[in-house]
Protein backbone atom coordinates (compact mmCIF):
# COMPACT_ATOMS: atom_id res chain seq x y z
CA UNK A 1 0.00 0.00 0.00
CA UNK A 2 1.10 3.57 -0.62
CA UNK A 3 2.92 4.96 2.39
CA UNK A 4 0.71 8.06 2.42
CA UNK A 5 -2.32 5.82 2.81
CA UNK A 6 -0.67 4.07 5.74
CA UNK A 7 0.18 7.42 7.33
CA UNK A 8 -3.44 8.48 6.93
CA UNK A 9 -4.62 5.29 8.61
CA UNK A 10 -2.34 5.86 11.58
CA UNK A 11 -3.44 9.46 11.97
CA UNK A 12 -7.18 8.83 11.78
CA UNK A 13 -6.95 5.76 13.95
CA UNK A 14 -5.76 8.09 16.69
CA UNK A 15 -8.07 10.97 15.83
CA UNK A 16 -10.89 10.41 13.37
CA UNK A 17 -11.80 14.07 13.37
CA UNK A 18 -8.77 15.48 11.58
CA UNK A 19 -10.07 17.65 8.75
CA UNK A 20 -9.17 16.90 5.14
CA UNK A 21 -7.14 20.11 4.67
CA UNK A 22 -5.12 19.35 7.80
CA UNK A 23 -4.67 15.71 6.86
CA UNK A 24 -3.48 16.75 3.41
CA UNK A 25 -0.80 19.00 4.87
CA UNK A 26 0.28 16.40 7.41
CA UNK A 27 0.96 13.73 4.80
CA UNK A 28 2.19 16.16 2.16
CA UNK A 29 -0.57 15.49 -0.37
CA UNK A 30 -3.29 17.50 -2.07
CA UNK A 31 -6.81 17.54 -0.63
CA UNK A 32 -8.08 15.77 -3.73
CA UNK A 33 -5.49 13.06 -3.31
CA UNK A 34 -6.47 12.55 0.34
CA UNK A 35 -10.16 12.39 -0.53
CA UNK A 36 -9.37 9.79 -3.17
CA UNK A 37 -7.28 7.72 -0.77
CA UNK A 38 -9.96 7.84 1.92
CA UNK A 39 -12.61 6.78 -0.55
CA UNK A 40 -10.49 3.89 -1.73
CA UNK A 41 -9.73 2.79 1.83
CA UNK A 42 -13.44 2.87 2.61
CA UNK A 43 -14.41 1.04 -0.57
CA UNK A 44 -11.82 -1.64 0.16
CA UNK A 45 -13.27 -2.05 3.67
CA UNK A 46 -9.95 -1.11 5.25
CA UNK A 47 -11.53 1.85 6.98
CA UNK A 48 -14.67 0.28 8.40
CA UNK A 49 -16.08 3.13 10.43
CA UNK A 50 -15.08 6.33 12.19
CA UNK A 51 -15.77 6.00 15.86
CA UNK A 52 -15.06 7.67 19.16
CA UNK A 53 -13.87 5.99 22.34
CA UNK A 54 -16.28 7.14 25.02
CA UNK A 55 -16.13 6.73 28.75
CA UNK A 56 -19.82 6.03 29.33
CA UNK A 57 -19.29 5.65 33.03
CA UNK A 58 -18.99 9.46 33.14
CA UNK A 59 -22.32 10.00 31.40
CA UNK A 60 -25.32 10.08 33.76
CA UNK A 61 -27.89 7.33 33.28
CA UNK A 62 -25.89 5.88 30.48
CA UNK A 63 -23.84 3.38 32.35
CA UNK A 64 -24.24 -0.02 30.71
CA UNK A 65 -22.84 -3.44 31.45
CA UNK A 66 -20.27 -5.24 29.40
CA UNK A 67 -19.68 -8.98 29.55
CA UNK A 68 -17.15 -11.22 27.91
CA UNK A 69 -18.45 -14.70 27.28
CA UNK A 70 -16.27 -17.70 26.58
CA UNK A 71 -18.14 -20.04 24.28
CA UNK A 72 -17.33 -23.65 23.42
CA UNK A 73 -18.84 -24.87 20.18
CA UNK A 74 -18.73 -27.90 17.90
CA UNK A 75 -17.22 -26.91 14.59
CA UNK A 76 -19.25 -27.90 11.58
CA UNK A 77 -18.12 -29.92 8.61
CA UNK A 78 -17.01 -27.78 5.68
CA UNK A 79 -17.41 -24.38 7.33
CA UNK A 80 -15.55 -24.91 10.62
CA UNK A 81 -16.49 -22.12 12.99
CA UNK A 82 -17.55 -19.54 10.44
CA UNK A 83 -21.19 -20.43 10.28
CA UNK A 84 -21.80 -20.50 14.00
CA UNK A 85 -19.79 -17.29 14.33
CA UNK A 86 -22.03 -15.60 11.81
CA UNK A 87 -25.15 -16.70 13.65
CA UNK A 88 -23.77 -15.13 16.79
CA UNK A 89 -22.32 -11.88 15.46
CA UNK A 90 -25.57 -10.96 13.73
CA UNK A 91 -27.20 -10.29 17.11
CA UNK A 92 -27.02 -6.50 17.67
CA UNK A 93 -26.08 -7.03 21.33
CA UNK A 94 -22.78 -8.56 20.22
CA UNK A 95 -20.12 -5.86 20.06
CA UNK A 96 -17.18 -8.08 19.22
CA UNK A 97 -16.52 -11.68 18.39
CA UNK A 98 -13.19 -13.47 18.15
CA UNK A 99 -12.16 -17.03 17.38
CA UNK A 100 -9.69 -18.05 20.07
CA UNK A 101 -7.11 -20.74 20.63
CA UNK A 102 -7.05 -22.46 24.02
CA UNK A 103 -9.67 -23.46 26.51
CA UNK A 104 -12.67 -22.25 24.53
CA UNK A 105 -13.46 -21.37 20.93
CA UNK A 106 -15.29 -18.07 20.67
CA UNK A 107 -14.98 -14.95 22.74
CA UNK A 108 -18.13 -12.86 22.58
CA UNK A 109 -18.34 -9.31 23.90
CA UNK A 110 -21.86 -8.22 24.81
CA UNK A 111 -23.11 -4.84 25.90
CA UNK A 112 -26.43 -4.40 27.63
CA UNK A 113 -28.21 -1.98 29.93
CA UNK A 114 -28.38 -4.30 32.89
CA UNK A 115 -26.95 -7.57 34.09
CA UNK A 116 -30.29 -9.27 33.71
CA UNK A 117 -30.52 -8.14 30.11
CA UNK A 118 -27.24 -9.89 29.45
CA UNK A 119 -28.27 -12.95 31.44
CA UNK A 120 -31.37 -13.19 29.30
CA UNK A 121 -29.35 -12.89 26.09
CA UNK A 122 -27.02 -15.67 27.17
CA UNK A 123 -29.69 -18.08 28.29
CA UNK A 124 -32.25 -17.41 25.57
CA UNK A 125 -30.17 -16.56 22.52
CA UNK A 126 -26.61 -17.69 22.82
CA UNK A 127 -26.96 -21.04 24.59
CA UNK A 128 -29.74 -22.11 22.30
CA UNK A 129 -27.64 -21.80 19.14
CA UNK A 130 -27.30 -25.37 17.87
CA UNK A 131 -23.59 -26.02 18.10
CA UNK A 132 -22.98 -24.10 21.33
CA UNK A 133 -21.78 -26.53 23.99
CA UNK A 134 -21.20 -24.21 26.93
CA UNK A 135 -20.83 -20.58 27.95
CA UNK A 136 -18.94 -18.84 30.76
CA UNK A 137 -19.89 -15.23 31.40
CA UNK A 138 -17.51 -12.63 32.88
CA UNK A 139 -18.76 -9.14 33.69
CA UNK A 140 -16.38 -6.20 33.28
CA UNK A 141 -16.06 -4.20 36.48
CA UNK A 142 -14.04 -1.22 35.33
CA UNK A 143 -12.39 -0.01 32.15
CA UNK A 144 -8.77 1.07 32.53
CA UNK A 145 -7.71 0.98 28.92
CA UNK A 146 -9.64 0.31 25.73
CA UNK A 147 -8.45 0.33 22.12
CA UNK A 148 -5.13 1.78 23.23
CA UNK A 149 -6.79 4.63 25.07
CA UNK A 150 -6.27 5.01 28.81
CA UNK A 151 -9.46 5.92 30.66
CA UNK A 152 -9.30 8.60 33.30
CA UNK A 153 -7.65 11.99 33.30
CA UNK A 154 -4.78 11.20 30.96
CA UNK A 155 -1.36 12.79 31.03
CA UNK A 156 -1.37 16.57 31.04
CA UNK A 157 1.36 18.72 29.54
CA UNK A 158 3.73 19.37 32.42
CA UNK A 159 6.30 21.35 30.46
CA UNK A 160 7.17 24.92 31.34
CA UNK A 161 5.89 27.44 28.76
CA UNK A 162 9.23 28.43 27.24
CA UNK A 163 12.32 26.20 27.29
CA UNK A 164 15.66 26.07 25.45
Amino acid sequence: MESKAIDILHIIEENGRVSIPTLAKMVDASEEEVKGLLKKLEDDHIILSYSAVIDWSKVDQNEGVTAMIDVKVTPQRGVGFDQVAERIYRFPEVKALYLMSGAYDLSVVIEGKTMSEIARFVSEKLSTVDSVLSTTTHFQLKKYKHDGVVFGEGEEDRRIVVAP
Binding site: K25, M26, D28, V161, V162, A163, P164
Partner: protein, 390 residues
Protein backbone atom coordinates in the same frame (compact mmCIF):
# COMPACT_ATOMS: atom_id res chain seq x y z
CA UNK B 1 24.38 47.02 49.33
CA UNK B 2 25.27 48.98 46.20
CA UNK B 3 25.51 47.38 42.80
CA UNK B 4 29.23 47.96 42.83
CA UNK B 5 29.68 45.95 45.99
CA UNK B 6 27.56 43.14 44.63
CA UNK B 7 29.57 43.05 41.46
CA UNK B 8 32.77 42.78 43.43
CA UNK B 9 31.61 39.46 44.72
CA UNK B 10 31.16 37.95 41.28
CA UNK B 11 33.77 36.76 38.87
CA UNK B 12 34.33 38.89 35.80
CA UNK B 13 33.61 35.88 33.64
CA UNK B 14 30.17 35.41 35.11
CA UNK B 15 29.42 39.13 35.02
CA UNK B 16 30.26 39.31 31.35
CA UNK B 17 27.70 36.65 30.52
CA UNK B 18 24.17 37.68 29.62
CA UNK B 19 21.28 35.74 31.11
CA UNK B 20 19.55 33.64 28.45
CA UNK B 21 17.06 35.58 26.31
CA UNK B 22 14.80 32.58 26.62
CA UNK B 23 14.55 33.28 30.32
CA UNK B 24 12.93 36.68 29.72
CA UNK B 25 10.30 35.14 27.54
CA UNK B 26 9.67 32.43 30.02
CA UNK B 27 9.02 35.03 32.73
CA UNK B 28 6.69 37.00 30.50
CA UNK B 29 4.77 34.02 29.13
CA UNK B 30 4.40 32.20 32.42
CA UNK B 31 2.69 35.22 33.95
CA UNK B 32 -0.19 34.85 31.46
CA UNK B 33 -3.11 32.43 31.10
CA UNK B 34 -4.46 30.50 28.12
CA UNK B 35 -1.23 30.59 26.22
CA UNK B 36 -0.53 28.29 23.32
CA UNK B 37 3.15 27.68 23.66
CA UNK B 38 5.33 27.10 20.63
CA UNK B 39 8.23 28.09 22.82
CA UNK B 40 9.05 24.71 24.21
CA UNK B 41 12.29 23.06 23.12
CA UNK B 42 11.41 19.57 24.24
CA UNK B 43 9.19 16.67 23.19
CA UNK B 44 5.51 16.80 24.10
CA UNK B 45 5.56 13.07 24.73
CA UNK B 46 6.06 11.69 28.21
CA UNK B 47 9.01 9.28 28.39
CA UNK B 48 7.81 5.89 27.05
CA UNK B 49 6.58 3.68 29.85
CA UNK B 50 9.06 0.84 29.41
CA UNK B 51 11.86 3.33 30.10
CA UNK B 52 10.15 4.75 33.16
CA UNK B 53 9.44 1.26 34.39
CA UNK B 54 13.06 0.16 34.00
CA UNK B 55 14.19 3.09 36.08
CA UNK B 56 11.62 2.40 38.80
CA UNK B 57 12.69 -1.21 38.81
CA UNK B 58 16.36 -0.24 39.17
CA UNK B 59 15.44 1.64 42.32
CA UNK B 60 13.39 -1.25 43.63
CA UNK B 61 16.41 -3.47 43.16
CA UNK B 62 18.49 -1.01 45.13
CA UNK B 63 20.69 0.51 42.43
CA UNK B 64 20.85 3.79 44.28
CA UNK B 65 24.58 4.30 44.68
CA UNK B 66 27.16 6.21 42.60
CA UNK B 67 28.03 4.54 39.33
CA UNK B 68 31.43 4.42 37.64
CA UNK B 69 32.46 7.99 36.77
CA UNK B 70 32.03 7.40 33.07
CA UNK B 71 28.66 5.71 33.56
CA UNK B 72 27.52 2.12 34.06
CA UNK B 73 29.43 -0.08 31.64
CA UNK B 74 26.26 -1.72 30.28
CA UNK B 75 25.03 1.69 29.16
CA UNK B 76 28.35 2.63 27.57
CA UNK B 77 28.29 -0.69 25.72
CA UNK B 78 24.75 -0.03 24.55
CA UNK B 79 25.76 3.45 23.35
CA UNK B 80 28.70 1.93 21.54
CA UNK B 81 26.44 -0.60 19.77
CA UNK B 82 23.98 2.14 18.97
CA UNK B 83 26.62 4.38 17.36
CA UNK B 84 27.86 1.47 15.28
CA UNK B 85 24.49 0.24 14.15
CA UNK B 86 22.87 3.63 13.51
CA UNK B 87 25.78 5.73 12.27
CA UNK B 88 28.52 3.26 11.33
CA UNK B 89 31.13 4.66 13.68
CA UNK B 90 32.81 2.53 16.32
CA UNK B 91 33.63 3.72 19.82
CA UNK B 92 35.28 1.75 22.59
CA UNK B 93 32.90 1.73 25.58
CA UNK B 94 35.83 1.64 28.03
CA UNK B 95 37.77 4.64 26.79
CA UNK B 96 35.81 6.62 24.21
CA UNK B 97 32.36 7.08 25.74
CA UNK B 98 31.31 9.23 28.68
CA UNK B 99 27.80 9.41 30.13
CA UNK B 100 27.01 12.96 31.20
CA UNK B 101 24.32 14.94 32.98
CA UNK B 102 22.56 15.95 29.78
CA UNK B 103 24.18 17.01 26.56
CA UNK B 104 24.46 20.33 28.39
CA UNK B 105 27.16 18.99 30.68
CA UNK B 106 28.86 17.34 27.74
CA UNK B 107 29.26 20.72 26.02
CA UNK B 108 30.56 22.27 29.23
CA UNK B 109 33.20 19.65 30.01
CA UNK B 110 34.11 19.49 26.34
CA UNK B 111 34.88 23.19 26.23
CA UNK B 112 36.71 23.15 29.53
CA UNK B 113 38.81 20.23 28.34
CA UNK B 114 40.14 21.94 25.21
CA UNK B 115 40.12 25.69 25.72
CA UNK B 116 43.01 27.73 27.09
CA UNK B 117 42.51 31.38 28.00
CA UNK B 118 41.95 33.31 24.78
CA UNK B 119 41.47 30.33 22.46
CA UNK B 120 38.80 30.86 19.87
CA UNK B 121 35.94 28.50 19.19
CA UNK B 122 33.85 29.05 16.10
CA UNK B 123 30.16 28.83 16.85
CA UNK B 124 27.85 28.43 13.88
CA UNK B 125 24.77 30.50 14.57
CA UNK B 126 21.83 30.68 15.03
CA UNK B 127 22.62 28.09 17.65
CA UNK B 128 21.52 26.50 20.87
CA UNK B 129 21.83 29.18 23.53
CA UNK B 130 24.51 27.60 25.68
CA UNK B 131 27.44 27.23 23.26
CA UNK B 132 28.84 30.76 23.33
CA UNK B 133 28.45 31.26 27.10
CA UNK B 134 30.08 27.90 27.82
CA UNK B 135 33.02 28.78 25.56
CA UNK B 136 33.38 32.06 27.48
CA UNK B 137 33.13 30.44 30.87
CA UNK B 138 35.86 28.03 29.87
CA UNK B 139 38.01 31.09 29.19
CA UNK B 140 37.70 30.96 25.43
CA UNK B 141 36.39 33.41 22.90
CA UNK B 142 33.31 32.39 20.91
CA UNK B 143 33.53 33.54 17.31
CA UNK B 144 30.14 33.64 15.64
CA UNK B 145 29.65 32.56 12.06
CA UNK B 146 26.15 33.47 10.98
CA UNK B 147 23.97 31.52 8.59
CA UNK B 148 20.76 32.68 6.99
CA UNK B 149 17.56 31.59 5.34
CA UNK B 150 18.92 32.06 1.80
CA UNK B 151 21.09 28.98 2.29
CA UNK B 152 18.55 27.14 4.45
CA UNK B 153 20.77 27.99 7.43
CA UNK B 154 23.49 25.64 6.23
CA UNK B 155 27.03 26.76 6.91
CA UNK B 156 29.70 26.47 4.22
CA UNK B 157 33.38 25.68 4.65
CA UNK B 158 34.21 29.06 3.11
CA UNK B 159 32.19 30.90 5.77
CA UNK B 160 33.99 29.03 8.52
CA UNK B 161 37.38 29.50 6.89
CA UNK B 162 36.92 33.26 6.85
CA UNK B 163 36.60 33.21 10.63
CA UNK B 164 39.68 31.10 11.32
CA UNK B 165 42.63 32.77 13.04
CA UNK B 166 45.84 31.55 14.72
CA UNK B 167 43.89 31.16 17.92
CA UNK B 168 41.11 29.01 16.52
CA UNK B 169 40.95 25.73 18.36
CA UNK B 170 37.64 24.19 17.42
CA UNK B 171 34.30 24.68 15.79
CA UNK B 172 30.89 23.92 17.17
CA UNK B 173 28.35 22.43 14.76
CA UNK B 174 24.82 21.33 15.41
CA UNK B 175 22.67 19.43 12.94
CA UNK B 176 19.75 18.98 12.89
CA UNK B 177 19.83 22.40 14.42
CA UNK B 178 18.14 24.14 17.28
CA UNK B 179 16.61 26.70 16.45
CA UNK B 180 16.47 26.37 12.65
CA UNK B 181 15.74 22.66 12.19
CA UNK B 182 18.24 22.76 9.34
CA UNK B 183 20.49 19.78 8.83
CA UNK B 184 23.60 18.94 6.77
CA UNK B 185 24.19 16.12 4.31
CA UNK B 186 27.30 14.08 3.58
CA UNK B 187 28.55 16.36 0.77
CA UNK B 188 28.19 19.52 2.80
CA UNK B 189 29.88 17.94 5.80
CA UNK B 190 32.79 16.65 3.71
CA UNK B 191 33.78 20.19 2.79
CA UNK B 192 33.90 21.10 6.45
CA UNK B 193 35.84 17.94 7.26
CA UNK B 194 38.52 18.91 4.74
CA UNK B 195 38.72 22.34 6.28
CA UNK B 196 39.11 20.89 9.78
CA UNK B 197 41.91 18.70 8.50
CA UNK B 198 43.65 21.57 6.71
CA UNK B 199 43.59 23.86 9.74
CA UNK B 200 44.00 21.11 12.31
CA UNK B 201 40.79 21.99 14.15
CA UNK B 202 38.69 20.02 16.55
CA UNK B 203 35.03 19.63 15.69
CA UNK B 204 32.32 19.57 18.31
CA UNK B 205 29.30 18.07 16.67
CA UNK B 206 26.08 18.32 18.66
CA UNK B 207 23.90 15.61 17.19
CA UNK B 208 21.28 15.33 19.86
CA UNK B 209 18.54 15.59 17.20
CA UNK B 210 20.10 12.92 14.97
CA UNK B 211 17.12 10.57 15.32
CA UNK B 212 14.72 13.34 14.41
CA UNK B 213 15.75 13.68 10.78
CA UNK B 214 12.84 13.53 8.35
CA UNK B 215 13.96 13.63 4.76
CA UNK B 216 17.53 12.30 4.63
CA UNK B 217 19.59 9.85 6.64
CA UNK B 218 21.60 11.51 9.38
CA UNK B 219 25.37 11.39 8.91
CA UNK B 220 27.49 11.45 12.06
CA UNK B 221 30.40 13.86 11.61
CA UNK B 222 32.88 11.37 13.05
CA UNK B 223 31.89 8.78 10.43
CA UNK B 224 33.54 10.92 7.74
CA UNK B 225 36.98 9.78 6.71
CA UNK B 226 39.72 10.94 9.04
CA UNK B 227 37.31 12.75 11.32
CA UNK B 228 36.94 10.35 14.22
CA UNK B 229 40.24 11.43 15.77
CA UNK B 230 39.27 15.13 15.76
CA UNK B 231 35.55 14.97 16.51
CA UNK B 232 33.66 15.16 19.76
CA UNK B 233 30.12 13.86 19.26
CA UNK B 234 27.65 15.29 21.72
CA UNK B 235 24.34 13.57 22.09
CA UNK B 236 21.84 12.40 24.63
CA UNK B 237 18.47 11.01 25.46
CA UNK B 238 16.48 14.20 25.93
CA UNK B 239 15.04 14.65 22.48
CA UNK B 240 14.77 11.31 20.69
CA UNK B 241 13.59 9.39 23.73
CA UNK B 242 11.60 12.22 25.31
CA UNK B 243 13.77 12.19 28.43
CA UNK B 244 14.57 15.87 29.05
CA UNK B 245 13.97 15.77 32.78
CA UNK B 246 16.25 12.78 33.26
CA UNK B 247 19.34 14.84 32.56
CA UNK B 248 21.23 12.22 30.64
CA UNK B 249 23.56 12.75 27.72
CA UNK B 250 26.74 11.28 26.35
CA UNK B 251 29.94 12.11 24.55
CA UNK B 252 31.85 9.99 22.06
CA UNK B 253 35.38 11.21 21.51
CA UNK B 254 38.93 10.03 20.92
CA UNK B 255 40.61 8.62 24.01
CA UNK B 256 42.81 11.59 24.93
CA UNK B 257 39.94 14.07 24.73
CA UNK B 258 37.60 11.74 26.51
CA UNK B 259 39.91 11.14 29.44
CA UNK B 260 40.37 14.91 29.83
CA UNK B 261 36.60 15.37 29.92
CA UNK B 262 36.26 12.48 32.33
CA UNK B 263 38.70 14.22 34.68
CA UNK B 264 36.52 17.34 34.84
CA UNK B 265 33.31 15.32 35.02
CA UNK B 266 34.55 13.21 37.90
CA UNK B 267 35.49 16.22 40.00
CA UNK B 268 32.43 18.31 39.27
CA UNK B 269 29.66 15.74 38.92
CA UNK B 270 31.09 12.37 40.00
CA UNK B 271 28.66 10.53 37.76
CA UNK B 272 25.29 10.88 36.07
CA UNK B 273 22.26 9.77 38.12
CA UNK B 274 22.31 6.00 38.36
CA UNK B 275 18.57 5.42 38.07
CA UNK B 276 18.44 7.58 34.96
CA UNK B 277 21.22 5.49 33.46
CA UNK B 278 19.16 2.32 33.88
CA UNK B 279 16.26 4.03 32.14
CA UNK B 280 18.53 5.05 29.28
CA UNK B 281 19.84 1.52 28.97
CA UNK B 282 16.29 0.29 28.50
CA UNK B 283 15.64 3.08 25.99
CA UNK B 284 18.50 1.86 23.82
CA UNK B 285 17.55 -1.80 24.24
CA UNK B 286 13.84 -1.60 23.47
CA UNK B 287 12.94 2.00 22.74
CA UNK B 288 13.65 2.39 19.02
CA UNK B 289 10.04 1.64 18.06
CA UNK B 290 8.92 4.48 20.28
CA UNK B 291 11.51 6.78 18.73
CA UNK B 292 10.14 5.88 15.30
CA UNK B 293 6.55 6.47 16.36
CA UNK B 294 7.35 9.89 17.83
CA UNK B 295 9.43 10.83 14.82
CA UNK B 296 6.59 10.02 12.42
CA UNK B 297 4.31 12.19 14.45
CA UNK B 298 6.77 15.13 14.43
CA UNK B 299 7.21 14.74 10.71
CA UNK B 300 3.47 14.98 10.07
CA UNK B 301 3.25 18.01 12.30
CA UNK B 302 6.21 19.61 10.53
CA UNK B 303 4.51 19.11 7.18
CA UNK B 304 1.32 20.64 8.47
CA UNK B 305 3.06 23.54 10.16
CA UNK B 306 5.36 24.61 7.37
CA UNK B 307 2.63 24.38 4.72
CA UNK B 308 0.25 26.34 6.89
CA UNK B 309 2.90 29.02 7.41
CA UNK B 310 3.23 29.48 3.72
CA UNK B 311 -0.56 29.77 3.41
CA UNK B 312 -0.67 32.58 5.95
CA UNK B 313 2.26 34.30 4.31
CA UNK B 314 5.04 33.47 6.74
CA UNK B 315 8.23 32.69 4.83
CA UNK B 316 9.81 29.54 6.19
CA UNK B 317 12.36 27.05 4.87
CA UNK B 318 11.48 23.38 5.31
CA UNK B 319 13.38 22.16 8.36
CA UNK B 320 14.88 18.72 7.74
CA UNK B 321 15.09 17.76 11.40
CA UNK B 322 14.54 18.57 15.10
CA UNK B 323 11.10 19.99 15.97
CA UNK B 324 11.49 23.66 15.19
CA UNK B 325 10.37 25.92 12.38
CA UNK B 326 12.23 29.21 12.04
CA UNK B 327 10.16 31.49 9.83
CA UNK B 328 11.17 34.97 8.78
CA UNK B 329 9.13 37.84 10.21
CA UNK B 330 11.19 40.52 8.52
CA UNK B 331 8.42 41.80 6.29
CA UNK B 332 6.45 42.91 9.36
CA UNK B 333 9.12 45.51 10.03
CA UNK B 334 9.36 44.41 13.66
CA UNK B 335 12.40 43.03 15.40
CA UNK B 336 12.02 39.43 16.46
CA UNK B 337 11.74 40.56 20.07
CA UNK B 338 8.95 43.04 19.26
CA UNK B 339 7.17 40.45 17.15
CA UNK B 340 7.30 37.78 19.82
CA UNK B 341 6.14 40.13 22.53
CA UNK B 342 3.29 41.60 20.49
CA UNK B 343 2.17 38.13 19.38
CA UNK B 344 2.17 36.96 22.97
CA UNK B 345 0.19 39.93 24.24
CA UNK B 346 -2.30 40.14 21.38
CA UNK B 347 -2.86 36.51 20.45
CA UNK B 348 -1.41 34.60 23.38
CA UNK B 349 0.95 32.52 21.32
CA UNK B 350 4.41 32.11 22.81
CA UNK B 351 7.35 31.83 20.42
CA UNK B 352 11.03 32.56 21.00
CA UNK B 353 12.56 35.61 19.29
CA UNK B 354 15.34 34.55 16.92
CA UNK B 355 17.97 36.98 18.13
CA UNK B 356 18.49 35.02 21.34
CA UNK B 357 20.14 32.34 19.20
CA UNK B 358 22.76 34.70 17.88
CA UNK B 359 23.93 35.97 14.53
CA UNK B 360 21.51 35.28 11.72
CA UNK B 361 18.65 34.74 14.16
CA UNK B 362 17.32 38.30 14.06
CA UNK B 363 14.29 38.64 11.80
CA UNK B 364 13.07 35.15 12.70
CA UNK B 365 11.09 33.44 15.41
CA UNK B 366 11.51 29.91 16.70
CA UNK B 367 8.28 27.94 16.72
CA UNK B 368 8.38 24.46 18.18
CA UNK B 369 5.90 22.01 16.71
CA UNK B 370 6.34 19.58 19.57
CA UNK B 371 2.79 20.23 20.69
CA UNK B 372 -0.62 18.79 19.88
CA UNK B 373 -2.19 19.11 16.42
CA UNK B 374 -5.03 21.05 18.05
CA UNK B 375 -2.54 23.58 19.41
CA UNK B 376 -0.83 23.82 16.04
CA UNK B 377 -4.11 24.43 14.23
CA UNK B 378 -5.09 27.06 16.78
CA UNK B 379 -1.73 28.77 16.66
CA UNK B 380 -1.74 28.94 12.85
CA UNK B 381 -5.15 30.58 13.01
CA UNK B 382 -3.98 33.08 15.61
CA UNK B 383 -0.71 33.92 13.90
CA UNK B 384 -2.55 34.30 10.60
CA UNK B 385 -4.94 36.79 12.21
CA UNK B 386 -2.02 38.60 13.84
CA UNK B 387 -0.17 38.99 10.53
CA UNK B 388 -3.11 40.71 8.86
CA UNK B 389 -2.26 44.02 10.56
CA UNK B 390 1.03 44.34 8.69
Amino acid sequence: MTTKQVNKRLSKKVQSIQPSGIRRFFDLASSMDNIISLGVGEPDFVTPWNVREASISSMERGFTAYSANAGIIELREAISNYMTSRFSVDYDPESEILVTVGASEAIDVGMRAIVDEGDEVIVVEPSFVSYAPLVSMAGGVPVAVGTNIDTDFKVTAAQIEAAITDRTKAMMLCFPNNPTGSTMNQEELKEIAELAERHDLLVFSDEIYAELTYDEEHVAFSSLEGMKERTVIISGFSKAFAMTGWRLGFVCAPKDLLSAMLKIHQYSLMCAPTMAQYGALEALKTGMDDVYRMKQSYKQRRNYFVKSFSEIGLECHTPGGAFYAFPSIEKTGLTSEQFAEKLLLEERVAVVPGHVFGEGGEGHIRCSYATSMENLEQSVERIGRFLKQF
